[in-house]
Amino acid sequence: MTQAFRIETGGLINREKKLSFKFNGKSYSGYEGDTLASALLANGVHLVGRSFKYHRPRGFFGAGVDEPYAVVQLYRNGETEPNIKATEQELFEGLEAKSVNCWPNVNFDIGAINNFLKIFLPAGFYYKTFMWPKSFWYRIYEPFIRKAAGLGVASTKHDNERYEHKYEYCDLLIAGSGPSGLAGAYAAAKNGAKVILAEDKPRFGGSLLTSDVNIGNQSGKDWAEGIIAELKTMSNVVVKNRSQIFGYYDHNMLVMSEKVSDHLPNTKKYHPNKRLWYIRAKEVLISSGSIERPIVFGNNDTPGVMLSSAAKEYLKVYGVLVGRNPLVFTNNDSGYETAIEFKKLGVDPIILDTRKNPASEIIDEAKNLGINIKNSYVVVAAQGYKKVKSADIASISDDKKQLGKIESIKCDCICVSGFWTPSIHLASQSGNKTKFKEEIDAFVPGQSKQNERTLGAANGVFSLEETLKTSFAAGSELSKKITENDNEVPVPNVVEKKFSQHDKFWCVPLPEGKNYKRFLDFQNDVSVSDVEIALREGYRSIEHVKRYTTLGMATDQGKTSNLNGLQLVSEIENKVVPAVGHTTFRPPYTPVSIGAIVGREVGKHSKPTRKSPMHNWHEKNNAVFVDAGVWLRPRYYKRGNENLFEASKREAKNVRTNVGVCDVTTLGKIDIKGPDAAEFLNRVYTNAWLKLPVGKARYGVMLREDGIVMDDGTTTRISENHYHMTTTTAQAANVLSHLEYYLQLVWPKLNVNVVSTTEQWAGAAIAGPKSRVLLQKLFPNSDVSNEGLPFMGYMEGDLFGVKARIFRISFSGELAYEVNVESDNGNYMWEKIVEVGEQFKIQPYGTEALSTLRIEMGHVAGSELDGRTIPYDNALEGLVSKKKDFIGKRSLQRAAFTAHDRQRIVGVVPLDKKTSIPEGSHLVKDANAPLPNPKLGHISASCWSVEHDNPFSLAILKDGKNMIGEKLFVMSPLKNKVIPVEIVSSHYVDPKGERVRS
């Protein structure tokens, strides 16, 4: 295909490099430096999509981030991405894109029938119609809407691209590289400040790329290039193109999305697709410029109607004519600039100016060039379905209410300029209270809330000279504060044309008898009449009008529509615009791909995986691992074809009959030292600690202040003022913070220090009737007899040359010990235990067997200490001291905690002794009771009892104390199970606890 609308020379594209691409299956060509939009326009393609609601044909309206129409589905590098603006997507060899919002295709769209049924789709239509009858919603309405709506299709495949996050700090962050951004960055850089300059487009320079101005005796574009080139050589400056600052958060934290690879056919090796920057800036210069505002008229959404600044950009940057027969419709001088550019290329534009008698330098230039100018004229309506073919125009009265006789003139594009709207999004996100600036009919930033300053067009300053002056000054002043350098940078002289006053006119009245659609929001199809309906129905707040009509709620966030919407509300309500106010600007300024936000946090967590020193041994011995927080723990050790159930049963049984060894390194360990350590423990735990002798361990329970059990574990007195506390794996970090809280804030006078030693010690639990004979072999020089090392005793020993701590504590309910050695010796310890234990038929056991052993013993763990239970609920009230005070004690007097039918832990056995009980099931009295069936309790943990060879569960049951022997039902709607059960004691094995003392 030829690029019929590409001019011979000019533009900033690289004509040496031709690129081919496909749009909707058809092949085209463009040049390096094109966007998808400019390349399509060069080929005369104006129809790119269908509108959201009425499926009307849509073309290009802008040339950048403000584009409301040209949203496409992109195919690149084997992936697909929806919601891509063709005006932002750079062309690369082999690019493929498709229209969205149309079915079956962009030229024939069944949804366009909505266009003829428009009377049925006014504002609030979805709210009103699709709500009734209710049963229709899921079956009919929703599928219909889903089929008809949407801005593309998200890929369901795994995304193979990489996305990175980066944290950065700087003195000055500058958003935008137009004249203001360049001046601010340059002045600050010269003072030695650490500067980051961010530009969302591929090219730096902003408006200087397209405007006809001179700075320091060179063209604006050349000046910009010179400044950028110099900034790039400075070590204190980072300049980034393709980088959009989209959010301004608290304490001067801004987030920027850098498109690293989107402009390339393939992502380079080791490069990310996008990089998200979290930037903490001491000062921020917002130089985000302004966006041209449309004038509203009939059929103003027809392809070929576009912003006059966009037409100029396509011409000057891309060398593309958006039409050969252009009509410029303007209320200010900007339209003339576009017309002059056309005229210079031999294209004859017609200017319709809403003003009666405007006069300025630029208007004179247009006149001198012989451009046809019609004053007090408006476009009443565009004509043509898939492309503008002509325009109905008319003169307009001075009061802008009466239209003259309507004439039709031929044209193939309508370039609209309704003046400029400052991009105040970032300033507003920072908390800045914006103010309305009468002279430009728009909001500008007001009092700064954070360390931010808005300059240039974003601040409503449209004079280049003024912009450069204030921006150089701001860059110097703010950087001087930080670096204390004061290197003066002279402000270059500026040659620019003065503009005359614009006309506040923004909406063309409907001619008698015509009912043209006049769109405010082009992406969401919100028209003037929709807003009128909303107001008629009583919506007053602009926030409500927005939600009811969806004005400004599309992915372009109303960049081109917001202000006209406010104008309309203010006219109908007879209020001034500032009294109507604007809706809140929220990040992101422009859509950010989910991949960039997620970054590297995909798949398995990116925190370091914690492995015990014995991990390699477990791996070699066929351990199947389970995640325990960030730890990996062996769940079971697979033998032959065993499954989880068979293996864990074997391991648990071996503990009950012989001896087993379990890696307990992950248990939280806290070293506690100081003369007041005993007193501190006495306040932290519910039981008494003052009289614990050296060389003894004690089981303790700690509460939160609200009386709920926080954690449990054993603490051992190593020496007079030295204790070793253990916590559950899950609560280790919380317990440490809890202890620090009381030591630092509540009882700072207690002379105690705490420190985590979890990773300093490797631990092995040796459990089973043969554990003592094994221990004796491991420590031949120590007296580990029942007298030498009684239950809850502690001693130090020598494990074949390695210093070890031996605790006689038990979680399994069997005679058991726990041996700790320094982590580096962990594997040595483990291998010795297994080697020596072989003669006693030792087997390693994993967390599954560990659970089985503790459940059938009735020992509580995380599933019972679930943040909702008090000591009584867990049958731990015997550990609650009546004499002394401790954290949370006062709460235990609360009425609910002392109720006679308070919930309590029980055992649960299925009547058939066969059916396994799903954890989380509910206990009910009557399985057939009508819903909601009153819940009496829930199953907290389940196992297969190896002692009794039948299923056994623990439950927290209402009035559990008096329920032993009752028959209830377990119900699990999730597993669709109803199981008749009997309530038994939670101590299903060795209820007197004789084994641990044997």
Partner: protein, 89 residues
Amino acid sequence: MLYIKCPHCGMRPQTEFSYGGDASVKRPELNKDVSDQEWDDFVYNRKSLRGKHLELWQHISGCRQWIKVERDTATHEIFRTFKADEEVA
């Protein structure tokens, strides 16, 4: 994301800290008779005010010290930060 000045370590991002609630709450002394009202006020009842708020944060990924932060709950402005034992004037 807030930027908090730890009195021990300097300016650090919020991700290094964990929040600890109202710093003006005083725990009733041990072994003292406490009325239901007094205890509920300590455990549950919080002003949840809008504006200047003295609150606790712990620098968990830093020095592990509990600190006091004077912050505006509406604007997030941080006025001052204090060590645990520093008197707040």
